[in-house]
């Protein structure tokens, strides 16, 4: 079950449990958790920490008005909120990415980045981070961009290697702008990664965009 060798730091997992992580990073943690039982167990315990801290709060009285209002509403609440609609979606797609993908990775709008890489932007986070999938052809170089902030990567399909070793499905990696690694996808198959690139939010200003089209694009 534990296919992964590279895990998020404990403090990152704690921030996820606390709900204080940017949602783009939380997406990566969630994708990792689908492949990693040991982080799943840690998360359970981290949730207990949150639970215990909450029990220690000084209770703040709720008005009878609110209580009566809610009790009066119970019968008219729509019951189907609790029911999830089953969807036909490629089982390879992690649950946290279902919101961006209709049926399979093939539906995405893949754009060519280099001879070896295609990318599909999924969304932006409120902190400006770009969330995308990268598809690297077998044996292709996965060195994409000279990014400015941290980059979070989770391997969804396939594997790649660099100077420090081999990375496979579920592996979670954080790289900063000084990272000198040159990852290469293994020869046997293409590699699909979820990648979140921190982008300084001030770069989205109109003037800056005008002056720095290349910075904004992110690929140099």
């Amino acid at each position: 079950m534990d296919k992964s060798n590279n895990h998020p730091d404990d403090e990152l997992l704690a921030a996820y449990s606390a709900g204080s992580l940017p949602l783009s990073q939380a997406l990566c943690i969630s994708a990792h958790l689908e492949h990693c039982q040991s982080c799943g167990q840690k998360l359970q315990q981290l949730n207990h920490v949150g639970s215990e801290l909450m029990q220690q709060l000084k209770p703040s009285k709720v008005s009878d008005e609110l209580k009566n209002k809610l009790l009066g509403m119970l019968d008219s609440l729509p019951q189907d909120i609790a029911q999830e609609q089953p969807r036909e979606i490629d089982s390879r797609v992690p649950r946290c990415l279902h919101q961006f993908i209709d049926k399979s990775y093939d539906d995405l709008d893949w754009k060519r980045v280099s001879a070896d890489i295609h990318s599909a932007e999924l969304c932006r986070d409120s902190n400006g981070a770009r969330v995308e999938l990268l598809k690297i052809k077998p044996g292709g170089s996965a060195t994409t961009h000279t990014h400015m902030g941290d980059e979070y990567t989770v391997i969804l399909e396939g594997s790649f290697s660099d100077e420090s070793g081999l990375y496979g499905q579920g592996d979670f990696l954080v790289r900063d702008e000084n990272d000198q690694h040159t990852p290469v996808a293994t020869q046997d198959r293409e590699c699909i990664c979820l990648a979140v690139t921190e982008g300084p939010i001030q770069f989205t200003g109109f003037l800056h965009r005008l002056l720095n089209p290349f910075i904004r694009r992110g690929y140099a």
Binding site: S17, S20, S30, S38, Q41, N47, G50, L66
Partner: protein, 195 residues
């Protein structure tokens, strides 16, 4: 001795509340729901106010949102997977994330619903239950003995919902110090099992 009695009283209370959620799930019992309401909503309200002091309307919204989910999802709650306190914490956390996303100055299209699975379908099997309750007791005891500089940071992260960077800015501490204090605290609480 006093600590022991306190622990027993707490677990009796929790057992009673767990019976209440069972009655809500099976019989749609409103008086059981009212008991859950009385116990948990002052904590949910306090949890909201920890992040936004003085924001009473936001706190009431969170109470309403969480308790609505408790009513609708009661049948999905599985006591073998998490105790009720922890289930309520994750519901409150998820509702707060959702609220913040919808009311953020900078919009994002990321929907947290599928990111934070609710506990009903994750978690350890029954054979880990005994271990789980042991862990929870050690977490509770450990929190009381944590040095202030460490518990202060857990409070910022878990209750006030601050990022490590925000915590670092507010406490005027280097980011690395914030992270290492989180790590030290978790180690003391025995949350960090060795792999």
């Amino acid at each position: 001795m006093a600590l022991m009695a306190n622990t027993t009283a707490k677990s009796d209370k929790l057992a009673h509340l767990s019976a209440c959620i069972g009655r809500v799930a099976e019989k749609r019992d409103k008086s059981a729901f009212a008991e859950l309401f009385d116990h948990y909503t002052p904590l949910i309200r306090a949890y909201s106010l920890a992040r936004e002091p003085g924001a009473d309307l936001v706190a009431d919204d969170l109470v309403q949102e969480v308790m609505t989910r408790v009513w609708l999802k009661a049948a999905k709650y599985n006591a073998r997977l998490a105790n009720l306190n922890t289930w309520i914490f994750t519901l409150a956390r998820n509702c707060r994330i959702d609220y913040l996303r919808r009311n953020s100055r900078y919009a994002t299209e990321i929907d947290p619903t599928d990111i934070f699975n609710e506990i009903e379908d994750e978690g350890p099997g029954p054979f880990q239950m005994v271990q789980q309750s042991r862990v929870q007791q050690s977490i509770r005891a450990g929190l009381e003995q944590l040095p202030k500089e460490q518990s202060e940071i857990l409070t910022k992260v878990y209750l006030e919902g601050k990022s490590h960077q925000q915590t670092s800015d507010e406490l005027k501490l280097p980011l690395g110090t914030v992270k290492s204090r989180v790590r030290l605290a978790l180690k003391k609480l025995e949350v960090l099992v060795t792999r």
